[in-house]
Structures are given as structure tokens and as C-alpha cells.
């Protein structure tokens, strides 16, 4: 899924979170967005998800302009996007299986296809043995893999990962990164990931957009990101 930001500014009154931002992401690309807190990383993801509207400029996701998108189109766009967060955002009183079922229900997959899709996503994320567990019964790494399984089950064209390794120990973080890379190469799923983890960015050798105060400092194909 291609993404185009064309001179995008997002501001709240006098405070600008993003200033005149332009970049393109090709379908199937894996991209890191890095930068200090408040640099606008999450704002970019929220704009792609249409949680926010740009103050100025144009955003294109897939073949649709988000700037003039109506509610229904926004919902349809979101159903093609998998999201994983630092805090997992799993529904607490539902099992992992039920969390995945909700995503499948929202995206309109026929109910009879659910068991197969759940099994497939759970196997890929190595969470099969935890499908009937509640989030509170899982470790941080398992929660994040459950969250990823929920995203994968709907076969997304784009995955947005907002600091997904933020709460994980190094081993779990690397397991997750390996999994994301596999999904990206095997399914050609576009992945945009924000992170503070310079080790991951430097070792993955992928495109990195570096932000500071809402502006792009650098956009490198195989960037190295200095340790903070």
C-alpha cells in the first residue's frame, strides 16, 4: 500500500507537531520513523489512521486521499491497516482468540473462515498455545505477538507499529522484529514503525526517516540512527 505525504502540516493553535512534511512510501516497503519524543512520529501514524486530520497538505493512503475522506471511507481504510502499539491495546476481558475474532468480525470475514485465519495468524506469531488466555495471563512479548496476530489475521496491506518494542526485553524485541521482517518480505506488507531503539534501526538496514520538531532531518535508504 503506497503512502504519500505532500506538504503536510499538523498544528494545534500555535503549536505545530508537523511542519510542511513530504515523503512517499512505496508498496511493500519497511520504514522506520525515528526521533526524540514530541518530534511528530506518532502524529504521522495517527494521520495515516485518520485519527487526526492534517491542518494543511494532502495525504494519500492506497488510492484514496485522506484529506476529504468520509467516515465510511476512513473505516474501510482502517480495515486494511494492522496496528500494533507499545501498550498492545488488547481488549482485557477477552481472550486472545476473541481479540482476533473481533478484528475479523469488523473486517467482515465470514465466520466459518475464522478458525483457519486465527490458527494461521497464531502459528506465524507463535501464540497458538495462548489463544484461550486473557491478556493479563500473558507476558509482554506474548501480548505484543497476540496484538500482531490480531493485525495479521485480517491480511493487512499496511502495518503501523507505534514503538512496539518499547515494553519488551531485548530478546522479545528481536523476535518481534524478525517476525515483522518476515511478514514484510513474504506478504509484501508495507510496514511503518516508530521507535527509539537505535540498535534495531541500525541492525535492520532499512529506510529511516529521522524527525526533529516536526521536520524531516534525514530520509535515508539504509540509515544509521545515532544512539540517544
Amino acid at each position: 500500500m503506497k503512502i504519500v505525504f505532500d506538504k503536510v502540516t499538523k498544528s494545534w493553535g500555535e503549536i505545530a507537531a508537523l511542519k510542511d512534511l513530504s515523503f512517499k512510501i512505496k508498496p511493500g516497503e519497511f520504514l522506520f520513523i525515528v526521533g526524540p519524543s514530541g518530534s511528530g512520529k506518532t502524529t504521522i501514524l495517527r494521520l495515516i489512521l485518520s485519527e487526526l486530520k492534517p491542518s494543511e497538505g494532502e495525504i494519500e493512503v492506497g488510492d484514496h486521499s485522506l484529506t476529504k475522506a468520509k467516515k465510511k471511507q476512513i473505516d474501510l481504510n482502517r480495515r486494511q491497516i494492522g496496528v500494533i502499539f507499545q501498550d498492545y491495546r488488547l481488549i482485557k476481558d477477552k481472550t486472545v482468540r476473541e481479540n482476533i475474532e473481533i478484528a475479523l468480525d469488523i473486517t467482515g470475514h465470514p465466520k466459518k473462515s475464522w478458525p483457519e485465519l486465527i490458527e494461521k495468524a497464531a502459528t506465524r506469531t507463535e501464540i497458538s498455545n495462548r489463544l484461550n488466555f486473557f491478556p493479563s495471563q500473558l507476558s509482554g512479548g506474548e501480548k505484543q505477538r497476540a496484538s500482531l496476530a490480531r493485525s495479521l489475521a485480517i491480511a493487512p496491506r499496511l502495518i503501523l507499529a507505534d514503538e512496539p518494542t518499547g515494553n519488551l526485553d531485548p530478546k522479545s524485541a528481536w523476535q518481534l522484529m524478525a517476525l515483522l521482517r518476515k511478514i514484510n518480505t513474504q506478504d509484501k506488507t508495507t510496514i511503518i514503525m516508530t521507535t527509539h531503539n537505535s540498535d534495531i534501526v541500525n541492525n535492520m538496514h532499512l529506510r529511516v526517516i529521522r524527525l526533529s520538531e516536526g521536520k524531516i532531518l534525514s530520509d535515508k535508504g539504509r540509515g544509521s540512527y545515532p544512539k540517544e
Partner: protein, 291 residues
């Protein structure tokens, strides 16, 4: 079980006491609603009964000849508004008395056919004609011993029926408003408690309708069970005491024994309950989920 039912069930299970509180409030509302419905129906039945029986009964003095009675009857028949006139001889009156008091031998012993006067039962086309007919009869003072005129009873019953209906509407309006507010607040609280979950659903692409559906179903659930409970309690009490009530009112049966009457009241209660629950949930969800 579909995801919608399962989600609704999760909501109910997560805060069972809040759900129970709303159901109790709706239960009280529909307990009163079904009680007023039954009361209103009973008064209407009583009114219909009284309106349908002869409205004026004229008892003649002793020694009045059949010719005099027939002459008065002929006079009355010419009056506009008279529907039917029936002559009741002392023998016929005694037969009626025996039938009505067959379980009371003491009363049967006290009265004979000779002690009961002859009478005319006069039915009017409508209750408004009663007064004119009564005035005409009253002018025949020499022949008439007593005139029983049911206008006052009808007026009183009509007034009470109106009072009960108006009182019922006012009471039910207040109770319905309280129920509405209770459902509105509880659903609102539940939405606020699940804001994070709702945010996640929205990010997964859930439509506004998808998010709201379980809350509307929850409101319907409250309305359904609250109204069912209220109706069931009132009806059970009424069925239990129906024979006693009907016995007190002798030949008048204000409470019919057929089940369709009770089922009609049930259908009305359920419809009103579900509508109230869904409406309050809808308004609450609309207020809390602004997108």
C-alpha cells in the same frame, strides 16, 4: 453465539450490579404500568357494565294496577332517548332475588314474592338522556314508590376512570423519565469505562454502528427483562386474587379469564420496555461516542 451477543453479554457480566440496578428501576416502572393498565381496564369494564344495564329502575307503590303500569309504560315509550322498557312483575323480581341469594338461606326466608314491588327497567340510548327520562318519571308521584337513578354512579365511575387514567399517565411519565435517566447514565458510565477498548475498535476499522450496537442491545435487554418482571409480578398477583375480586363484584367480571388479555398487556409492556431501553441507550451512546 454471534460477536454482538457475546459483546453485550460481556458488558452485562462486567458490571452486574449496575445492570441489576437498571433492571430493578425498569421493573418498578413496569410493575406500575401493568397495574395501571389492569386498573384502567377494570374501571372501563365496570363503566361499560353499568352503562349496559337498565339505567333507571322505577318501583311502584303497592296496589297499583297493571293498567296504570301499562299506561305509564306507553307514555315513556314515546319519549326520545328511551331504548328499552321492561316490566318486572313481583314474581319475576322474587325469582331474581332467589337466584342472587341462593347461597344465603336466611335472606331467602325473610322475603316472599308479595314483599317485592313491581318495577319498570328503563334503558336509555345513551347516559345523557337519563336526566330527561328521570324528570318525566318523577312527575308521576302518585304511582311511584322509588326511582333508582344510576347517573351518579356512572358520573362517579367516569370521574374515577379519568382520574386513574390521568394519574397513571402522570405517574408513568415520571417513572419512565427516571428509567430513561437510569439507563442513560448506566450506559454512559459503561461507555466511559470502555473508552480505551472503543478507541481500539475504531482503529481496527469498526463503524460507529458496530461500536454502538452492543450498548443498544444492552438497553433492549434491560427494557425486556424489567418490563417482563413488572408484568409477571402484577399478573401473578392479579391471577391469584382474580376470583376474590370477581366474587366481590358479583355478576360484574372486570378481569377476564382469557389469556389473550394478559398477553396483550405483556406485548405492550415488552414493546414499551424495549423501546425505552433502546432509546435511552441510543441517546447515551450518541452523546458519548461523538464521531
Amino acid at each position: 453465539m454471534s460477536t454482538l451477543w457475546r459483546n453485550t453479554w460481556h458488558h452485562l457480566r462486567r458490571s452486574p450490579f449496575q445492570s441489576l440496578a437498571v433492571i430493578i428501576i425498569l421493573f418498578v416502572n413496569f410493575l406500575a404500568a401493568s397495574a395501571f393498565a389492569y386498573l384502567s381496564f377494570s374501571f372501563s369494564s365496570l363503566l361499560k357494565y353499568i352503562e349496559s344495564v337498565p339505567e333507571i329502575t322505577v318501583f311502584f307503590k303497592e296496589g297499583i294496577t297493571a293498567q296504570t303500569v301499562q299506561s305509564l309504560r306507553a307514555n315513556l315509550e314515546t319519549l326520545p332517548g328511551v331504548r328499552e322498557i321492561r316490566y318486572i312483575s313481583p314474581e319475576e323480581a322474587f325469582q331474581r332475588y332467589q337466584e342472587e341469594n341462593k347461597d344465603n338461606p336466611l335472606l331467602l326466608e325473610l322475603v316472599t314474592a308479595e314483599s317485592l314491588p313491581a318495577s319498570l327497567e328503563i334503558a336509555a340510548i345513551n347516559p345523557q338522556e337519563l336526566e330527561k327520562i328521570a324528570q318525566t318519571i318523577s312527575s308521576q308521584k302518585e304511582e311511584i314508590d322509588q326511582l333508582i337513578y344510576q347517573k351518579d354512579a356512572i358520573d362517579a365511575l367516569t370521574r374515577w376512570t379519568k382520574i386513574i387514567r390521568l394519574g397513571g399517565i402522570a405517574t408513568l411519565s415520571i417513572l419512565s423519565f427516571i428509567s430513561f435517566i437510569a439507563v442513560f447514565i448506566i450506559i454512559g458510565l459503561k461507555i466511559v469505562n470502555r473508552k480505551e477498548e472503543i478507541g481500539t475498535l475504531r482503529l481496527l476499522g469498526a463503524s460507529s454502528w458496530y461500536v454502538k450496537q452492543p450498548y443498544l442491545l444492552e438497553g433492549a435487554f434491560y427494557g425486556f427483562f424489567g418490563s417482563l418482571g413488572g408484568w409477571a409480578t402484577t399478573s401473578a398477583l392479579l391471577i391469584h386474587y382474580r376470583d376474590f375480586i370477581n366474587k366481590q363484584l358479583s355478576s360484574i367480571s372486570p378481569l377476564p379469564p382469557n389469556p389473550s388479555f394478559y398477553l396483550e398487556i405483556l406485548a405492550g409492556c415488552l414493546l414499551a420496555g424495549v423501546f425505552l431501553g433502546v432509546l435511552a441507550s441510543f441517546v447515551s451512546a450518541r452523546r458519548q461516542l461523538k464521531y
